[in-house]
């Protein structure tokens, strides 16, 4: 086990940081305020493999290890969490299930376009009555000839407003007429695939989160991902992986907020000296730095397990739970250090504060992460 970053990870970080600071930093506040998806920047990211971070080279991906991929998401989110979200959802819960569960012809057809970012992916599980209770999906897929006909509404779909391919979880009938969940690859151009208005959210506002409506949407049966009834299996495996991405995103937000707070604490003069010289502020900074470091080590451990081919679901949940909690706490303290200015849109910490909260909610709430962790601990013979 290595605790110091290797040269490759340092270079991946500085490369992603340079890109984020050059391309995203100047626009991050504006695209947040006006809910703009930065298509020009996304175009620049495509040839650099931001959309195929871990896809194999034969599909045009970068085939990065999981720590490298996490570092990229961290660095994007350190500057602009909404773009970090677009990238991590695309890679973590759209490309990943293709790699794990798609047939070779599905891989041939979709992976090159997904890995190049020509096609943006989305993962559509959540519905009005199916959130933490992922088994309560009500969208249906009924066999009709060689197609499935999909009907239902998906909500809070990250990348929903711009996705070209969505993985839709829907109920299908087993040969014994039991209802079970299955996953379909649905292209946005199909008749009956409709997008809702963009959500007006508290944070991550530059990401086009929307509803998706399926109205008698005919999907060819070869677009079934995995086997009939594999929905829960695909969903859980994909979310394990997605949680690493959200943890990385939360960590990046926390890092950005801490850096902003440290900079401000050194500059801001009160009582004729920088507020950084006050022990209270120093305590805040010490706690932020310690918790961020601990969160990073927890995250990279989950990444290492994943790359070693070992089970990583519990560690991914721990990383997601802890990183998102640290992000919420650190961004709140960063606002506190900024005082009144931190509550103003003039300073980035206000945006970080809003962006951090949702990392405790999506890809499994903190409460669900605790369910996953407790279940793993209670069922393990070795603690």
């Amino acid at each position: 086990m290595q605790f110091n970053p290797c040269m490759k990870h340092k270079l991946i970080r500085s490369t992603a940081r340079h890109f984020a600071e050059t391309e995203l930093a100047p626009i991050a506040a504006e695209i947040d305020q006006h809910r703009i998806f930065p298509r020009e920047v996304i175009e620049k990211m495509r040839p650099l493999h931001y959309f195929g971070l871990q896809a194999p080279k034969e599909y045009g991906g970068a085939a990065l290890d999981s720590i490298s991929a996490a570092i990229v998401v961290e660095e994007l989110s350190r500057v602009c969490a909404a773009v970090g979200l677009c990238v991590t959802v695309h890679n973590g819960v759209a490309v990943y299930p293709f790699l794990q569960f798609a047939s070779s012809s599905q891989k041939e057809k979709y992976l090159p376009k997904l890995a190049s970012g020509e096609v943006i992916g989305a993962f559509s599980l959540t519905e009005a009555n199916a959130g933490s209770d992922a088994g309560s999906v009500e969208t249906t897929a009924v066999k009709s000839g060689s197609d499935y006909v999909l009907n239902g509404t998906k909500i809070f779909v990250t990348n929903g407003g711009v996705c070209d391919v969505a993985l839709i979880f829907a109920l299908t009938s087993s040969p014994e007429n039991r209802l079970q969940s299955s996953v379909f690859i649905v292209e946005s151009g199909l008749p009956g695939f409709l997008r809702g208005e963009l959500e007006d959210l508290c944070g991550m506002r530059a990401n086009p989160v929307s509803s998706l409506f399926l109205e008698d949407c005919r999907v060819p049966q070869e677009n079934l991902l995995g086997h009939l009834g594999d929905g829960m299996k695909i969903g859980l495996a994909t979310l394990d992986n997605g949680r690493i991405g959200v943890a990385a995103q939360a960590l990046g937000i926390a890092q950005g907020a801490m850096e902003a707070a440290v900079k401000y604490a050194k500059e801001r003069q009160q009582f004729k000296k920088p507020i950084a010289s006050q022990q209270t502020i120093q305590n805040y900074i010490a706690d932020m730095a310690t918790e961020i470091m601990a969160a990073r080590l927890l995250l990279y451990r989950a990444c290492e397990l994943k790359d070693a081919g070992q089970p990583f679901g519990c560690e991914a949940s721990m990383a997601k739970l802890y990183c998102s909690s640290v992000a919420s706490k650190v961004t709140s303290v960063a606002v506190q250090i900024h005082g009144g200015y931190g509550y103003s849109k003039e300073y980035d910490v206000e945006r970080y504060f809003r962006d951090a909260k949702v990392t405790e909610i999506y890809e499994g709430t903190s409460e669900i992460q605790r369910v996953v962790i407790a279940r793993a601990i209670l069922s393990s013979p070795i603690l």
Partner: protein, 283 residues
Amino acid sequence: MLKIAVCVKQVPMVTELPWDEKTGTLRRDLAAGMMNPACKHALEAALQIKEEMGADVTVLTMGPPAAEEVLREALALGADRGVLVCDKMLAGSDTYATSAVLAAAISRQVAEVDLILCGAYTSDSETAQVGPQLAEELNLPAAAYAERLDISGRTLKVRRLVDKFRETLEMEFPALVTISMERYKPRYAPFEGLEAAFCRGQMTVVGAADLGLTQSLLCEKGSRTKVRRVFIRKAQKENVKITGAAAGAVSEFLDRYQRKIGAVIGKSIELKKRANDPAGTDE
């Protein structure tokens, strides 16, 4: 095929440039390293030539083991091989010694080099000396601060901006050119390239002895620059209050600051005196 050698340097990130105030030296151990911006432009020029007409690009640097990072980055961007000159004996080299070492490295590692490209200057010391000194060491024609290169056969046309005029020089290969930061905007490294640079990038590490550089030769060629003192220029914010009637206050403000503001925005805002100007803006 054209053989290009690009000399690059790892420098501390400017925003993370911690100084040791007591010794006046850079705390390189604390600062994250990056490829010097002008060197990146020089590499970009080499890569564009490679794309246009084909070329074999070798990137060289002298530095500590960590300087390998900038060579890996160069490989990711499209260079063919990297050469790291790394030896404790070379620590503390000034520009004179550095150019002698780089000359030895190019002579030994890049046979029959046609074109040597360097960044015009580095962001950490800004002497702009290594390129021209390297040309002297290798007895090559050289041009500094080039903004554009055009190659036709064995002839190189160099366009450069000097003071307030633009000149075009012509020289035969082999030659050395230092590149300014106007035209050759560096590309971003793709992640696939970064991964490949570490998996299968071609990298050679050489020490002083490998280059035929002995202690005595290094002493003879050794650093002639003696740093007497290093100090940090302090920038201090100051609040200035101008009181009185509006017209007078504006006039006083302009008197004091219009030249400074003009320098910052790159445009004169100095007002011509108007005969009946009650504010008396007299410049």
